[in-house]
Amino acid sequence: MNAPRPMLEYFPFLCSEPQASACAIYHCSRFCQEQWTRHTKTGNALARLAALVWAPPAHHQSGGRLRCVLSISLATLFIAACRNDTSKETHNDEPQTQRRGNTQTWFTEITDEVGLEFTHETGGRGDLWLPEITGGAGAALFDYDNDGDLDIYLTSAHAGLPDRLTSRTLTNRLYQQEPSGHFVDVTQASGLGDGGYGMGVAIGDIDNDGRPDVYVTNLGPDRLYRNRGDGTFEDITVAAGIDVDGWSTSASFLDYDRDGFLDLFVTRYVKHHFRRHCTDQAGRREYCSPRAFVPTHDILLHNNGDGTFNDVSPAAGIASVAAAGLGVVCADLNDDGWMDIYVANDAYANNLWINQHDGTFRDDAMILGVAYNLEGQPEAGMGVLAADLDNDLDLDLFVTHLVQETNTLYRNFGAATGFFDVSGESGLAVSSMIHTGFGTAALDIELDGDLDLVVVNGRVKLGLLLSGAEPRPPWDRYAEPNLLYLNDGSGRFTLSEELCGPFCNRMEISRGLAIGDIDADGDLDLLVANAQGRARLYRNDAPRQGHWLMVRAVDPALRRDAIGAKITVRCGERSLLRTINRGFGYLSSNDPIAHFGLGSADRVDWIDVRWPDGLLERFPATPADRRIELFRGNGNAQQ
């Protein structure tokens, strides 16, 4: 199950060669592979040289002994390079952890296997415009054609800011999953090829016709696309009365007023302009921080139910705060049955908009302990999620941050107490301090009944070049590995690089992350959107430690997923809470399925659904290892 390593691509033919030196190199490379978990530039260069020396069979007709001599010398150099680069990684890059050779890979990259051919371009041409490095590379997993499998939507930028804003040469792409599991680019036919300077994507059924619609956030005007149901989309931005310009980042659908129609929250970053250049402390040109620009307020769009939206930000109180918003998650965080909104701001205090049940919100982030970290510092919030990470049946908040800051876990201690930053106690702080985190997701990778965490990383400022960085210079100095944390069930996490495989070993500039069961095998897979690089799909091949259940919660009257519903399953003495939510992470939209790893339980005793309008229904026992759909009204209403 080990992923193929680029370094070895040059060697397979050598194994069948009769010459000792050839096999010496081969075994040497094996040795290196065991020492290295990632290929390095030195290794690749030597491997290429070796391949030249031991060129394909046609060239083997002459110079055998010379080749032999060169090969042995190369083998020697190879070992030296191995030692060199390994020690470099350990010393400079990852002081906390040792990357060990994989014995088993939990995430297998299947990008090529399924034909996902998408490469993101930032359009950067050396001017170091902030949108190149902060935004872009959003991802969505959704079933746009209602054929039962997940399709992929990826946002894109294109050549050169600022003229890029008017020259629309590259577009966002839609990939349809075929029954074989292969993905086909259907952008042109679908009409979803938005040409804006793409940031993120939010998916939601705005007209309750059972078909997911698409909202695209841009640097420039955002767009809303209505799903016609025949595989095509129409741009209804103007008709819907949406006029969101500037720099939007993450967006999420929610029904905040319980009228049955999905409203939309759009985070916005700063008022960017192209006259501002920044330098680092030594005076070298560098990407600006958000503090170099004027921050903007976020936007709440109310769905009028007739295909139009109203900007209600001022009336709802949202417009009273200007901050550099990047991530958003909508969920009932104080357990009062109404959807709240948590916004991760970059270099500003975060906002927790508590629903006042009258169409307005109040920012209680400070008083509930989620505005700052434990040291009282506002952090550079990027990606965000709300999930029950400590199995106590309430929603905790997790936010990814900049290098030198920790990723932060705010544990929910109940409505009366609020939240506390428990990043250190939970084992999430130290390991994240050398990375800049963006997309994130909580999922039960090995089906043992608790939520694990994945974080995708990529710098926003130049850093030391890490071995194996994949983007071409100068982007390679922004590349970082991703992180996978396993939960012990109590909300304590352990970094698990040795199991993670290429998901953690690839050095890229990752931004968006979407999760969903792409291969319909009962576990959740990962879609990573990289800036200035290929989007990658990772299949979950983790050894299963239990059974699973996937729950889709549908309101038949609304003909759509019950976004915001809370699903609690009971199995034996254990209860597990998940939510129906598409919008979390960074610039991304996920499959709105409540996925439960059940551990050893092969059935659940009952399922409670707290519908978004507050109704609580109980559904009867069901066997595990299957997907089920729960329809509102079919359960027993509870007090």
Binding site: V69, I72, S73, A80, R276, S320, I367, E375
Partner: protein, 472 residues
């Protein structure tokens, strides 16, 4: 070692097909010869070198390969002068000066030349390290501090600065805490060390150790506001709410401008059921955008060495906040000279000039900043203040209103506009703005003014601003 031995071993298939050296010499079938096209080593007319010379060549290449490998290993092991490394053969950092501002490059080069001239001088290494540190060249700084520490093991500063550099690079507390502890042994009375140890412990989740470290910091400096703040946070987390409240109140007294203190204080009041106090604390916190760091003279000495525009700008802003307008102008002028197209620098300089009562110069800078980019609400507020000082009430109104258009809940802009309107006899409009200013914070001067003029204090807008700047 087992793996190394294995690496020299061939696969069985290759072993079976491998021609022995002896076989090479003996066997010369035509087909084999054609297949390999090797010259016959015994045939003097054959092309190629004599076998002995060939083996000599082989040996030579092998030896060179081994020598290169050994060299590479030694270089790596000793950390000296490897290609692409940032140190020369003597371990003195080499700096890539591409793109570095000339003044910065000059300072660094000067510091480095002193180390080259006196490689055994701890002072020279320290100076070079501080110069690198000031400009965030942490790899260079780390090397220099380590060397200075070796040369002068009883000196506190290299050890402490090394620890802070490791911290700034995001290194693990497992690595930084022992270095801080070494520093503490050398300067046991220096409170910031214990504060930083506390921060490191809290990152590892060791709350008891963090609490003890903050207490140690406060034993050495009872007025260290940030230590009170962080200790309060830790105690709140540990459910010692009453003690937490004491420390947070102390922090708020010592450092009234620290928004984070008030936010945590609000959380504490809420937990104690003192909701009114909680709301009041949040109201005040929302008006404060600053979160204070630890007062650390050793680090401040380093920061003072920074000569780049970015550092001059940061320093200028800091001085502006502390009311040292003359020095702020000096620093901001340096930054503006290096980056004449930076609107933020011009805006800050304009504010400093106005505060220093150089109104004309300040207004010119505001105009220059506005020509470069849209200005934030705070800049329009200050621009309005400058025009008020100059007696241009119309222009001042325009800018206050621009500030309020950008940030409708900007209390200071409401208040200042209210004062201006009141002075112009537009009492009702002024009251409306006072009310809006007071709505975000009952203790705002606007509320006091409303009481003074006998106007109702009720607000027309219940919304609370957050992250909005205060007036300057």
């Amino acid at each position: 070692m087992t793996r190394r031995r294995k690496s020299a071993k061939m696969s069985p298939a290759a072993e079976a097909r491998r021609p022995s050296r002896e076989g090479d010499l003996k066997r010369k079938p035509d087909d084999e010869s054609r297949r390999t096209s090797r010259p016959d080593p015994l045939d003097p007319t054959a092309k190629g070198k004599h076998p002995r010379r060939r083996y000599q060549a082989l040996t030579l290449v092998l030896i060179s390969g081994l020598a290169v490998a050994a060299g590479a290993y030694w270089i790596r092991a000793t950390g000296k002068g490897a290609p692409g490394e940032t140190a020369d053969g003597n371990g003195i950092p080499i700096l890539d000066s591409r793109g570095v501002e000339p003044k910065v490059a000059g300072l660094l080069q000067d510091a480095r030349s002193k180390v080259v001239a006196r490689p055994n001088s701890a002072r020279a290494w320290m100076h070079f390290g501080q110069a690198c540190d000031a400009h965030h060249l942490y790899d260079c700084a780390e090397r220099c501090y380590r060397r200075a520490k070796e040369l002068s093991p009883d000196d506190f500063e290299p050890v402490y600065l090394l620890a802070t550099i490791l911290d700034l690079q995001g290194r693990s507390p497992d690595e930084t805490i022992p270095v801080y502890q070494s520093a503490a042994r050398l300067a046991p009375r220096y409170a910031p060390i214990y504060f930083r140890i506390g921060e490191a412990h809290s990152k590892t989740g060791n709350l008891h150790a963090a609490r003890d470290a903050y207490r140690s910091a406060l034993e050495r400096n009872p007025n260290l506001a940030v230590a009170h703040r962080n200790l309060g946070q830790i105690l709140l987390r540990m459910d010692e709410t009453d003690s937490a409240l004491q420390h947070l109140q102390q922090a708020a007294t010592l450092s009234p401008g620290d928004g984070a203190v008030l936010a945590t204080l609000a959380q504490t009041y809420r937990r104690l059921g003192r909701f009114e106090q909680a709301d009041a604390a949040v109201g005040r916190a929302r008006l404060l955008t600053e979160t204070h760091g630890v007062h650390d003279p050793v680090r401040n000495k380093v920061l003072a060495m920074g000569v780049s525009a970015a550092l001059a700008f940061e320093r200028g802003k800091r001085l502006l906040k502390t009311g040292n307008f003359a020095d702020a102008i000096a620093n901001l002028t340096v930054a503006a000279d290096i980056h004449p197209d930076d609107p933020e620098v011009h805006s800050a300089l304009a504010t400093a000039l106005v505060q220093h009562r150089e109104i004309e110069a300040g207004l010119a800078r505001f105009a220059r900043a506005a020509a470069l980019a849209p200005l934030p609400a705070r800049a329009h507020l200050n621009w309005g203040n400058a025009l008020t000082l100059q007696g241009d009430s119309g222009g001042a109104q325009d800018h206050y209103r621009k500030a309020l258009k950008i940030d409708p809940a900007y209390a200071q802009a409401h208040y200042n506009l209210g004062l201006l309107l009141e002075s112009l006899g537009r009492r009702e409009e002024a009251i409306s703005h006072y009310q809006q200013a007071a709505s975000s914070n009952p203790s705002h001067p606007a509320a006091q003014r409303l009481r003074e003029i006998g106007a109702p204090t009720e607000s027309t807008d219940e919304r609370q601003p957050k992250g909005t700047p205060g007036g300057e």
